[in-house]
Amino acid sequence: MERDLLDWIGVVPLLPLIGAAVLLLFGKRIGEPVAGWIATGLMVLAFVWSLVMLAAILGLPEDARSQTSVAFTWLSVDQLQVNFGFLADPLSITWILLVTGVGSLIFLYSIGYMHRDPNFGRFFAYMSLFAGSMLLLVTGSSYLLTFLGWEGVGLCSYLLIAFWFERTSAAVAGKKAFVTNRVGDVGFLLAMFILIAEFGTLDYGATGAAAPGASSGTVTAVALLLLLAAVGKSAQIPLFPWLTDAMEGPTPVSALIHAATMVTAGVFLIARAHPFFDASGDALTVVAWVGVLTALFAGGAALLQPDLKRVLAYSTISQLGYMFLALGVQAYTAAVFMVLMHAFFKGCLFLGAGSVIHGNEENQDIRIMGRFRRFLPYTAIGMTIAWLAIAGVPPLAGFWSKDEILESAFIAGDYGVWVLGLIAAVFTGLYMTRLIQLVFYGNERFRGDAVPAVSGGSDDDVSATDAATTATAEQDGQEIDPADRPDALGYDPAFLPTVDFTEATPRTSRLDGHDPHESPVIMLIPILALATLSVLGGLINLPLKGLDFLDQFLEPVFKGVSQPEPDSFVEGLSLEGIAVVLALIGIGIGLLLYRKGLRNAAEDPIREHTGSVGRFLGHAYYVDDGQAAFFGGPGRATAEFLDEDVDQKVIDGGVNGMAKLVRDAGQGLRHVQDGLVRRYALGILLGAVAILLFLLVYVAR
């Protein structure tokens, strides 16, 4: 009975994909708000079906909780056979519950957020496709099917980040996300090639079973290539700049990317391919260090961002770093736990940020906010809870998950990783406190006496160019259509909402003396639901024997892995105590600096007091600028050399030369066809004579 049910896990990805197909074909005609309700309804249905799957798998004995159902043979080439099949096990079921559950809330929220957008139907079509791809990714029974979802997720991130493509910055950000992800995809592809060459199969079950017996070179190569793929998708060092630029997309998209889909795919991939990482200790070390360095660096970068969504984006990168750190010390369950908890509080934070932006005329500059709790009380409640949750204040969700990770790092003996992780925890407390205090508490700074948005007085050259582009964009927008353009689009393409770190001068408030307003109920319900989950989420995996439900549930997936566990309750408690104290120190510093808001909107205390170090952090270590300089300079030169010299001269020259040879030969040979019948007859005769001679001399001999 349960086995039969589990064969139907494929229904979960199918439901949103049906929604995507319907909305892509008829989205425009269905229109608002029915298109949104169709997409949301199908997501809720998928969630319900995921619950059925959960019930089905819980009905099975623990050692039988893995079921592969094959729909059909996808590829059959020589020895290699790849099935289009689904794998139902605790890991995939955890993930489908997460994606459909949090996804449903985000979809519901989007109905309110995307209100009056002319492309309402298209938005929900892409969102459904996004969710469907992610579900395919996690339910696939082989690397190839996961790769299909993997690519689908990448495509949808491009479509959604660049959803407001009339805005050049959004179009560019979409391309950046796509291209950066492709770098990671190369790793995924190469890993699959090695798997085919070494094991002749791409099935998770078969490759996982074969991994421990393979040579150490092979498993390390596979593990590191899969890590490259995960680094691209999960925005780890050095492939993270795309995620902060992805803030150009509509805020529900950011929520979906950060909370439910996309970036957790990297964590999923490593958890799914854990036999290779287990077999290769070196790869695990690399994973742990990539994770902790990302957690630390992104946490530092988040401290100085003036943009509401960018703080959250760096925060996500940092939290993903924690998940990688957990994977690196083989604390797979802790990583999955963190994914779930992070989805709750980061989903809440992003939806809250969307609510703030929505109620604040698209302004994202936190320097000109302040005391919003008076105007957006429910959003304030939700985001305040999520703030405490992400900072790791007990007993909220983030406390349980993050402390379990740090504890695992200590127990695994990676003290360097542990110490850096603790410092990152201080950063987490600090940047989140700064954000929440500047937005919801302190003094009001949006009353209009702020300095004009784009004027001089910046400490960086770049801001001058930024101002110039803003001005040009405004002009362009007006040239095309003066007045009704913004209305027709539902947004103003000339207005660039994202505030770059280089903009030392705060923007002008767009409120025009009005107060910010609270969002409609349809947007508040998901925020408060996720806030509730951020409070209660920890209950699914308490660090006590018998209450660690997630540990028990995932146990069959990570069977045979010695996940780090505290030796005694006291050891666990003291380790968690250290982490909590450090998180509270971070929050304390934040409160000290920002409790009263900003005296002057242009003077951010951290930015003022850290000087060049601050600038270094604020620019995110110039990784983005460095990559831009490298690929814009030598990279571009190489590309141009390849284009102009290699491609146009050598390759095109070869192809065109061959064509010219044939053409010239034809030109010469056409004179043979002179239309004189008698000459043709002579040709036939001579040919016949030649054949006869040949037969006489060689054959008849």
Binding site: D674, G675, L676, R678
Partner: protein
């Protein structure tokens, strides 16, 4: 004297070769399409002659049967070929092979 002259197949073959050569040269050197056509018939009949000669020499009727096929095909060819020549003649007031070179490359 006359009885002593025995007619061997090689006589027929020599005759056939002579006829064939005359036909081939006729096709190549004459410009009048009708004469070229007749030359082709001559070549065909030269071949028929060799068939019959070998059939007699080897005592095998297959050669004679083949001749009938050749005759049938030749008859069909004549019908088509003459029709083409008539058609050309109507359009061009003449049937000189060298003038028909619209297919020149």
């Amino acid at each position: 004297m006359i009885a002593a002259l025995e007619i061997t197949p090689s006589y027929y073959l020599i005759l056939a070769a002579a006829l064939f050569t005359i036909g081939a040269v006729g096709v190549l050197v004459r410009r009048n399409v009708i004469v070229m056509f007749m030359s082709v018939e001559l070549m065909l009949n030269a071949v028929n002659l060799t068939f019959v000669a070998f059939a007699k020499a080897l005592n095998d009727t297959a050669g004679q049967v083949l001749v009938f096929f050749t005759l049938v095909v030749a008859a069909a060819e004549v019908a088509v070929g003459l029709a083409i020549i008539v058609a050309i003649f109507r359009r061009r007031r003449g049937a000189t092979a060298d003038d028909l070179r619209v297919l020149e490359g």
